[in-house]
């Protein structure tokens, strides 16, 4: 466990590109253990590409990503992605049961570890045997988070995690994000919804016009 003062994830002068075009540049941002950082901005601002760059699914055009002080570019990509979970906006369930989704790529696992991951997202252990293709949108969103948690990450990146959900499911995911931060995870919550960012985040940053235009405590920053 790092102390709260050490940035779990530090972005240094990051520039991200889609194809050949730079969509955002000069992004410097810290995400600390136990905190929810909200990244807000209109769609197309490069938020998703930024998340993909943190876990090296895309290569940054320039700049660095530091994970607990280590350059992400020097880390084993598979280990990096277990340490920093990215949950996509429309999470894809792999074929099979919820158990198979949670255990994917983990080798030998016992059900207790999977139960614990599932329970922390508020889903009952009985869910393990459900077919992953039969889940509702809200259930799939929580299973996707549980699937990332089963890898024991230090940080979670959530891309518009509530955008496709009804009010009750969205509220459950907001509560879940706060619980996970309280347990010491660093969370980056990407959303175009500033009200949502104001409710869940400790700190917030706004991406607009290809730059990070403001960053600071969520209450102050979002009031501007």
């Amino acid at each position: 466990m790092g102390t709260a003062a050490v940035a779990r994830i530090r972005l240094q002068e990051l520039a991200v590109a889609r194809g050949e075009r730079i969509v955002a540049r000069g992004i410097s941002l810290d995400m600390r253990a136990g905190e929810i950082t909200a990244l807000v901005g209109p769609s197309g601002a490069g938020k998703t590409t930024l998340l993909r760059c943190i876990v090296r699914l895309d290569e940054p055009a320039s700049g660095r990503v530091l994970i607990d002080g280590e350059d992400a570019g020097t880390l084993d990509p598979c280990a990096l992605r277990r340490r920093v979970g990215l949950v996509m906006q429309a999470p894809v369930m792999l074929p099979g049961t919820v158990r198979e989704n949670l255990a994917y790529g983990l080798g030998a696992t016992d059900d207790r570890a999977l139960d614990a991951a599932l329970a922390s997202t508020g889903l009952a252990p009985g869910f393990l045997d459900r077919g992953a293709s039969e889940l509702s949108g809200g259930e799939a969103a929580r299973v996707a988070i549980a699937r990332a948690l089963a890898r024991g990450p230090a940080a979670l990146l959530l891309d518009e995690p509530t955008a496709a959900l009804d009010g009750a499911s969205a509220a459950a995911v907001e509560r879940l994000a706060r619980d996970l931060a309280a347990r010491g995870l660093a969370l980056l919550f990407v959303t175009h919804d500033e009200a949502l960012a104001g409710r869940v985040a400790h700190r917030a940053a706004r991406l607009a016009g290809g730059e990070l235009v403001a960053a600071g405590p969520a209450g102050e920053m979002l009031a501007r």
């Binding site: 990509p77 598979c78 992605r81 429309a90 074929p95 994917y104 699937r147 990332a148």
Partner: protein
């Protein structure tokens, strides 16, 4: 010649039927028939020449390999160095079948034996390579979100593409497996028919057909597996990432 004349009459009848039925296939049917006649006449003359000169037989085999490579490479389009990958898969598959058959003397390197056997094996390797490469590209393009989901869960590219590889290799092998299972029940394959019509005993024809079919099973499996590995390598980017080939 009577046989060709009767068959040509059947093509003419098919063209008339297409016209009467308003199917619009007249041009395609006529063109296919004319092309087949020209190509087979040319190959007949060429093969007669090749059968006379042992050196030409290897040139002919090389030309078959080059044509098969060009054909499969089109199916791998979008993957870098598609032709080199197609060549490696086809050559590896064909060599696995051809080497032991020639080394043990099951077939001789006399042009009359080498050319048709090499042709069948290269053709099988080509089909397996094309289907495998095409299916992997298609699966990755259709399911890039699923592939990236697997990568995000911390597995490498080979593991993330394993379902696509399994599906592609299975699809590529369906024709040869079904053909081997049903040989003699549904169709009498070309080698058997040709040998019997050429005067070989049915037992002799069956023995050779079995040799070719068994060799093809190995040839196509090896070609498909090599093609799959090379396609995956072509789609992989540094940092355990994948690009969907356009």
């Amino acid at each position: 010649m009577i046989g060709v004349a009767v068959a040509a009459g059947l093509v003419a009848a098919a063209i008339v039927l297409s016209r009467v039925g308003g199917l619009g296939l007249e041009r395609d049917l006529a063109l296919a028939a004319v092309r087949a006649a020209v190509q087979l006449a040319a190959v007949g003359a060429l093969v007669a020449l090749v059968f006379e000169h042992a050196g030409l037989a290897w040139v002919f085999v090389t030309a078959m390999l080059a044509t098969a490579t060009a054909t499969s490479a089109r199916r791998l389009r979008g993957i870098p160095r598609a032709a080199a990958r197609a060549f490696a898969a086809i050559a590896a598959g064909a060599a696995v079948g051809l080497a032991p058959l020639l080394a043990t003397g099951a077939f001789s390197t006399a042009p009359r034996e080498l050319v048709p056997v090499a042709g069948i094996l290269i053709g099988g390797a080509m089909a397996a390579t094309s289907i495998t490469g095409h299916r992997i590209r298609e699966r990755v393009a259709e399911d890039i979100a699923g592939v990236e989901t697997r990568l995000l869960l911390g597995v490498g590219v080979a593991e993330a593409l394993a379902p696509a590889v399994r599906g592609a290799v299975t699809t590529a092998l369906i024709p040869i497996i079904d053909q081997t299972k049903n040989v003699g029940l549904v169709t009498l394959p070309g080698t058997f028919v040709g040998l019997v019509l050429g005067g070989a005993s049915p037992a002799e024809a069956a023995r050779l057909q079995l040799t070719v079919l068994f060799a093809l099973l190995a040839v196509e499996l090896v070609a498909a597996v090599v093609a799959a590995r090379l396609a995956v390598a072509g789609l992989r980017r540094p940092g355990e990432r994948v690009v969907a080939a356009g």
